[in-house]
Structures are given as structure tokens and as C-alpha cells.
């Protein structure tokens, strides 16, 4: 069955999934990139960005798993861009240039309707204005049996977790200290939601933990 997955979601030692004050210059919030240092070193990221070879150990394996068997993505509005409120025009097409790294349909949660944007390489951004359940339904339909990944940001992950819709969560605990930002798990009881830790692995720069619901144990 198609699963709803959170993958490669980095958390600071003080519990933040993003830094404060996200804007055009700080897509991950101030100091947010420190969360992704383990990811920026991976072979997956480096080859994706033409930066030569990267590390091919645990971090890279976890990064690759994040892209396996995906048929669609769901992103929060702020993950898609820094614009708030109405779309002033159709210029903004995401942070990722002409060919975004998704290569499948991407459903963007927003309160402001907009026509789909077809990008190079198979990514189409669809804008969903009728809530997280509707977005998930459309993503599942588009995924053709593949899984759906929630790309973020923090508020979107929290909404889906709280609604009990997420099947699997991979967190990368990192040695970054942000001091402030968006707390990923504050007041969310993963045990009560049915999650258990199914495995973990460490690299030099991260402690990876995979949680799954009892109904979906990960092999």
C-alpha cells in the first residue's frame, strides 16, 4: 500500500526542524543550513548539483532511501517559496530552478489558488487549497501506487503527524544548535500516535532514526 513518508528530516540538538525568520535569503531559516550539513556532503546531493563525488556511507544511503519508490510529494507553502498571501504574479516557481529534483507531481498546500506549473524533468507543481486530507488524496491518486513524501516544512509535517496520516518518519538528529526556530515535535506524542523506532544508524555527522507505525513495520 502507498505510504505517507517523512524522510531526511533534520532536527537540531535543541529540537528545531528549521531556523527562525525564513525568507528569500534563508529558505531554511537563519542557521537552518547547519541542519543539512550531513546531507550536503552526500554523493546524492553532490552529483545532483554537479559538485563531484560525495560520501557514500550511511548518510548517502539514508538520503537515497528518501527518494526510493516515490510517486508524489506534498510541500507546505513556505517550503515552496518565501511569498506569503496572494500570488502577485506567476514568476515564482520554487527554489529549485527550471528542473526541480522531484521528477513527479508535487502538491503545494496554500490558501491561494494558482494554475499548475509544469517544470522540466517531470515535476509539476499543483496548488491545493482545500486542506491536507485533500492534498494527500490527490497525491495518492497521482502517485500511481508509489509512496507520497512530505517534503516539509515543519508546520506541514506537524499537521500531518497530528492528523495521524503519516506512516513512516526518518529523522536525522544533528549536532547543530539553533537556539530558536520551528520545534518539530513539541507537544506531539509519537508513542500515542502509534509510532515505534524500527531502526537507527549513525554516521559521523548524524544519528538517523526511522519510526513507523505498528501496521507498517519497515523491513
Amino acid at each position: 500500500m502507498s505510504k505517507l513518508r517523512v524522510q531526511c528530516f533534520a532536527v537540531s540538538l535543541d529540537g528545531y526542524g528549521a531556523g527562525p525568520d525564513q525568507n528569500l535569503e534563508n529558505p531554511l531559516g537563519v542557521r537552518g543550513p547547519e541542519l543539512m550539513e550531513w546531507f550536503f556532503a552526500t554523493n546524492l546531493w553532490k552529483t545532483m548539483h554537479g559538485l563531484g563525488e560525495g560520501e557514500k556511507g550511511t548518510d548517502n544511503r539514508m538520503a537515497e532511501k528518501g527518494f526510493e519508490n516515490l510517486g508524489a510529494w506534498i510541500l507546505g507553502r513556505n517550503m515552496f517559496g518565501p511569498i506569503r498571501g496572494d500570488w502577485p504574479d506567476d514568476d515564482w516557481k520554487g527554489w529549485w530552478g527550471d528542473e526541480p529534483p522531484y521528477h513527479v507531481p508535487v502538491f503545494v498546500l496554500t490558501h491561494h489558488a494558482r494554475a499548475p506549473i509544469e517544470m522540466k524533468g517531470g515535476t509539476t507543481f499543483h496548488f491545493v487549497t482545500d486542506g491536507i486530507e485533500a492534498a494527500l488524496e490527490r497525491a495518492r491518486a497521482a502517485a500511481g501506487g508509489g509512496d507520497v513524501r512530505i517534503g516539509g516544512g515543519v508546520a506541514t509535517v506537524r499537521q500531518y503527524l497530528r492528523a495521524g496520516l503519516v506512516d513512516e518518519v526518518h529523522l536525522a538528529l544533528t549536532p547543530a544548535m539553533l537556539g530558536g526556530g520551528e520545534a518539530l515535535l513539541a507537544d506531539i506524542d509519537l508513542a500515542a500516535l502509534g509510532f515505534a523506532v524500527v531502526r537507527h544508524a549513525t554516521s559521523e555527522n548524524a544519528l538517523h532514526v526511522v519510526l513507523a507505525k505498528a501496521a507498517h513495520p519497515q523491513s
Copy 2:
């Protein structure tokens, strides 16, 4: 200069430093022991408890560092025992039997005065009723130039952090999921308190991070 240190303080993936509902059967709260799995495997712990040899890698090294150069400890009342309110009698002498693992003076924060208790092996429990600053002052005086370690629990660590009195913090981020309990760093801005990450190291079961104030960089 004598430093005030937090060492080997384990944190769950959801940010808890102890489980909920601490009592006589659950000194670390329900599921709390999951936080200490990395520690229970160390050679330091195992030899301390006559359990044979343990692992001698990163976890053990970090555990050993936690005991280096210590002249005194500070514990919260709940770390000392499960009794709340007035001491009914002098029977309770800590969780640790006749010879506690401290071997130096230990200052216990409490609102209820009690005569000091001299234990085997150099540990003496002193009960301090006039607050965290007074306890630190007495601990420093007793430490004879050595450092003072805050043993816990979470509430005590948080009080000392917020008061700006802690010089160094070693956290062990773990793959344990508690779901609830005592959040260690909620609403505490370590950056604003002057801390920076000075190093980190991973083992199979933990991501160790050492934070220090700029004035006390760790070599």
C-alpha cells in the same frame, strides 16, 4: 577555574531528558532507561557494577570524561530519591546503596532540611535549602579547585542553564522515543546563553555533542 558541567545527559529523539511519572520503580521515569542504553553498555558502567567488561569506544570515553576532574556534584531532590515533601525519617539514602558512585561531596537541592549523610567511599550528601546559587557556592568551596557536575534531573539542569551558571554541557542524543516526559531544552535558547557546539562524536547508539561558553572553549 572550576567549571560547572552537565555531562552524559541523554536526550530522546523527541527532546525528553527523563520519562514521565518518576517513582521508586522508575527512577528515570517510565521508559527513561531507554535513554541510558548507550551508557549501560560502557566499560565504565559495567565495571562499576561488577558486570564484566563493556565497550571501550566513544561512549565509554564520553562516560569517563564525565567523571574527570570532579570535586563535587549537585543533584535535584528528585534525582536523589522518590520522596516528596518532608523527610519522614532518615532511611532514604539515595538510589545507589552504601557506596554511591560519586566519591566526593554531593549537594542535594531540597526545601526540607536534613543532616548530612556520610556514605562509604567518600560520598557525603549535603542538603541545601537556600537555592541553586547557594548550592553552587558550597559545591565550589567543597570541590577544592575541581569542577562541579550537575547530575540532574531535568528541572535542576534547566534551572542552572537559565540562570546562566553552566559552563559546559555534554548531551547524548539517542534513538529513544519517549512520547512524553520532561523536555530538556524547551524554551531554553542555548545560543542566547552564549553556548556554541565545540565538538561532536558518534557511536553506534548515540550522537554526543559538547557545548561550551565562548569563555570556556574545550580543548
